[in-house]
């Protein structure tokens, strides 16, 4: 988050990367465990860093034969070091002439992959209004206005339900529990099913689209509380999902957080959804796919609440 808001918001740095480099953004956790050419390459490069002990997090400039040209982690936020290193490495770089292509075999992936036919949506989150304690840490100041990012998988079966003008319980519960969370300053905790206290959802066909209107009240029993209004539009053409534009916004309060700082008192928090484009980031799985219940279709709290509402 800090990098996105500082180092990689600098136009000259970005121009250097676009012009002179092949940019790789792996999951450190995954690539360190991978017993495949990608894992072998990263471990080889990372161990050439001059620091005797480091977490393997950081920035690396290397050649495709695995030779580290520069590796570092600090300063963060960047003070110009990044640009200097990028320029120096570009000027000195001589591409190795004899490097074998890597084994094209199946990569050793730990990250979950989307089920067949699933659609990927991008999820953007932001604290629209918040009050903060005064701090002297630049990185805190940087990320207070940041936009958090995650993804949502919409399964083939859920797309089929949407085509029948039905907003599926499984999809609704997934986006509430895993995406109505403040991830703007670190990895948050998901809501539990039982935290969904109240829910309304209305799907109205509107000139070829589905208009979505709803509300949800979330409460984890003492720490977090979110009262949100949900609205937006969903559109399908020939059974294909062509639009998934939703916004949840409302008052979020939290007494403590798993990571980072907590705003003082009430905040206004929003989560916005739209279909993912062609960028490679669409391959990055939603954060909570490590939770075995991510694609759950039974024993849903949303189903309980919707059933009760119709009785």
């Amino acid at each position: 988050m800090v990098d996105r808001a500082s180092t990689f918001a600098d136009e000259e740095t970005l121009a250097l990367l676009r012009k002179g480099y092949i940019a790789f953004a792996p999951s450190v956790t995954e690539i360190l465990k991978s017993r495949d050419p990608a894992g072998d390459f990263f471990r080889k490069v990372a161990t050439q860093r001059p620091e005797p002990k480091h977490t393997k997090q950081g920035y690396y400039i290397c050649s495709p034969d695995g030779t580290l040209l520069k590796g570092w982690m600090y300063p963060r936020p960047d003070d110009g070091t990044m640009k200097r290193y990028l320029k120096e490495a570009m000027e000195k770089y001589q591409a190795p002439t004899e490097v074998a292509a890597i084994d094209a075999g199946r990569p050793d992936r730990f990250a979950p992959q989307p089920p067949d036919g699933a659609v990927v949506a991008e999820v953007y989150t932001k604290l629209l209004e918040a009050n903060w304690q005064k701090v002297n840490l630049a990185r805190f100041e940087l990320i207070r206005g940041a936009i958090g990012r995650d993804r949502l998988w919409i399964t083939k079966a859920e797309v089929q339900e949407l085509s029948k003008n039905v907003f599926p319980d499984s999809l609704l519960e997934r986006l509430i529990r895993y995406n109505f969370v403040d991830n703007t300053h670190g990895v948050p905790a998901a809501w539990r099913g039982a935290d969904i206290k109240e829910l309304t959802i209305k799907v109205s066909p509107d000139q070829g689209k589905l208009k979505i209107d709803g509300s949800v009240r979330l409460d984890d029993g003492g720490n977090r509380h979110y009262d949100a209004k949900l609205e937006g539009f969903v559109e399908l053409k020939g059974g294909t999902l062509t639009r998934f534009d939703l916004v949840a916004h409302g008052v979020l309060t939290a007494q403590k957080t798993a990571v980072g700082e907590v705003p003082i008192g009430d905040t206004t928090f929003a989560a916005a959804f739209t279909l993912a484009g062609d960028a490679d980031s669409r391959r990055v799985p939603p954060l909570f796919t490590f939770d075995g219940a991510y694609l759950r279709t039974d024993k849903l709290r949303v189903s309980e609440l919707r059933t009760t509402a119709t009785k």
């Binding site: 092949i22 792996p26 009240r217 916004v247 960028a279």
Partner: protein, 80 residues
């Protein structure tokens, strides 16, 4: 000016008076404004970040360019 001031006081009171209650009121903002403000490409996304090492390696060989790795806990292109 008086209208604006009263509206501001009303918004603050809606939040303050709701403390300890179950339902709170957020300042009104419409769907289109929030969606447009959030769902936009940020500067860091103007770089063609790749996530598949095989593609990175092949591109580096083909284009004669070094590899830049951005490696942080979590996923730098997602929730981090």
């Amino acid at each position: 000016m008086k209208t604006i001031w009263l509206a501001a006081v009303g918004a603050v009171m809606a939040l303050t008076s709701a403390a300890g209650q179950e339902t709170k009121t957020a300042p009104a903002q419409d769907f289109a404004t929030i969606h447009a403000a959030l769902c936009k490409k940020e500067k860091w996304e103007t770089v063609a970040w790749k996530t598949d090492f095989r593609e990175v390696h092949a591109a580096s060989l083909k284009e004669g360019k070094p590899i830049f790795i951005w490696a942080m806990d979590g996923q730098t292109l997602g929730c981090t």
